[in-house]
Amino acid sequence: MVFASYREEEDFPTDDATGPAEWARQIRFRLADGECFRAYDTAITALEHHPGDNALRLLYTQSMLRTGALEDARAALGAWYREILPDTVAAPPDQPGVTDTLGQLGELFLECWQRAGNQEDLQRARDLLLLSFRRDPRRQRTGVTAATLTHLGGDHRQARALALEILHGGDSDPEAGDFHGWFSRALAWLLLEDRDRAWQALRQAVAGVGDHYPTVVTARQEVERYGRTGLPLFPEILEILAPPTVVLFAGTPLDPPGLGSVRFPPALEAPVAGAIARRLDQLEARIGYSSAACGSDLLFCEAMLARGGEVNLVLPFALEDFIRHRVRYAGEHWEQRFRRVLDAAHSVNYATGERYLGHDILFRYANQILMGQAMMRSAFLSSEPYLLAVWDLMLSGEQGTASDFIDHWPDILRLRLVDLDELREQVPESALNASPPRPARNRLRHARAVLPRAIKAMLFADVVGYTRLAEEHLPGFHALLSELVNRLAGRHPPLDKLESWGDAIFAVLPGAVAMAEYALLLQQTAADLEPGDFALPSRLQFRVGLHAGPVFEARDPLTGRPNVYGHHVNQAARIEPVAAPGQVYASEQFVALLQAEENAARHAAEATGQDYPARFEFDYLGILPLAKRYGTRPVYHLKLRRGVRL
């Protein structure tokens, strides 16, 4: 089962014959497109082919940094800085590659400083960028960044001198469409506090970018950095660089045969399409996240594509099952529209590769994944998503419906509604009831559910080195586990399930935040236990893997205890073996749920004037092969944010 697929922008060669320059081009392409996780994966593969290549090492570090692994990236950069700086400073001006390396290293230290605020990173960034600019004064972008950092460091006179040098260095204005040329000029004029000229240059720069969001976002971050230097930040300047609006969609499908009441009949298609288009216009929507059922989901996707926007799909279960249950009943033309949207989508994800089996909980799970993905994307774009829901206001919140989605949406201010009931009032009753009869063979048939399903967060943990313990260590090992349990008691929510078989633990909780806390508490408490107190040769360390997904619940026929079953339990079990000792690794689905839950808590706190500092952070580790040939999946390293206590 392929969990996710992305539309390729280009065909890239990735065989043994691919040279370092081609690999670098691929990584840069993905980084420029904001696909930092894929860039990181590509960089790892590239370095396997060309381990000593400096440009690839730089791009690997840059990709790592973009995925959020700040500390690892800083460590790699620091070592490299000490290793190569003496040689590069002493290198003759015409030595190829040196100016590039200095500039790229400077940019990476700058990115580190922006994320962590370490003054040493700032100083190194400024020195490296200035060295690069001095070696090649045509690199205006490098020069203007060095000038900004010089201003930040307090040397305003030298910063202004550098800005003037950049503005007067070129023979003429940059050509139309030259983003870097115009943007460098805009920044230089900002340093000189000339608002009008800065605004004009910035307009020229943005005109050359079009809808390339990562460039706009990076440019905005760079302009915002000026605010931190004490220079005035003009609102009209930031307006030009507004991040794209991300819209998450919660829809109501066309009435299935045998519904018994009129909610969304075919006669309502045009009014609903019109209402969606108007809302998207008002929001200036550029990026959409949605499912793709017949009816309002597909109308939303089509409207987004029609306005040149980007569509990202999350389907709640296996493709053919989805078509059978959520598309085909409305007629062949809806299936054709579905396939067109699928082809045109920027990304297609499946919440689970399992079948539907009549479990509506899968729709809720898919909604949670959608919400988490939209929030992660928005955070990357310095934006916040809106929820647009096409909804019958008269209906209650059954799980997985638009009502249910609204109930779990954290921010009323970013909620927009299209009321189906209101639209129905605008259509003659005769038209509403004149829906063409659909063939009986297309009637919805849900398979009888054998077991109930629920969304659960799951933990698998395993003691590192257990098999190497000698028999005489077992009493101490048991005493240590008892002490671990005592110390954990009362410090975490009641577990739905806790099983152990010697050195392994399987725990189940209903929420991702609660499970993240439990997992990190387990690791922290285990690390605090002194092995000498238990006559053990080494400290107790767990490998911990986390996953969340819909599972089947039943009483175990052998033990009589409640248990969970299914593909997602297996997937959770396959993450733990790839985890590093003492660390907590998590699946993409777990991280998406965690993100959605944390955002909901943050909004609830803010609405009552309280503070809700984010508690967790996660570094992307790449698409890793899971244990027992379970295929490859994106895996994240979950950590507690600095300063946060459990």
Binding site: L387, L393, M394, G397, S403, W409, P410, D411, L417
Partner: protein, 114 residues
Amino acid sequence: MDIHQQHQDQTIVLSPQGRLDSTTAGELEKHLLGLLDQGQTQLVVDFIQLDYISSAGLRVLLMAAKRVKATRGSLALCCMKDSIREVFEMSGFDRIFAIYDSREDATSAMARAT
């Protein structure tokens, strides 16, 4: 969640307490639907003891307003804290509900409407 209920002439005033979020909205929904099923058509929801309302709470109020309207009745909201009022105004939902500063204003408006 605690929901106080009072009769004032033909109007029923509900005062939910604390937080109206995805955990508690179901209780208010059940309470409101129960009243509507009994044929009650004049309802006021008093926000005086409400500290927070989430999208789930808003949805329940929107649903109740729709259902009351379908029976030619009315639903009003009153006594919102500034922070909640601001959310309604900024999101535009203040245009959907009749919102009053005091319970007296809300019940008087109800009485005039009948």
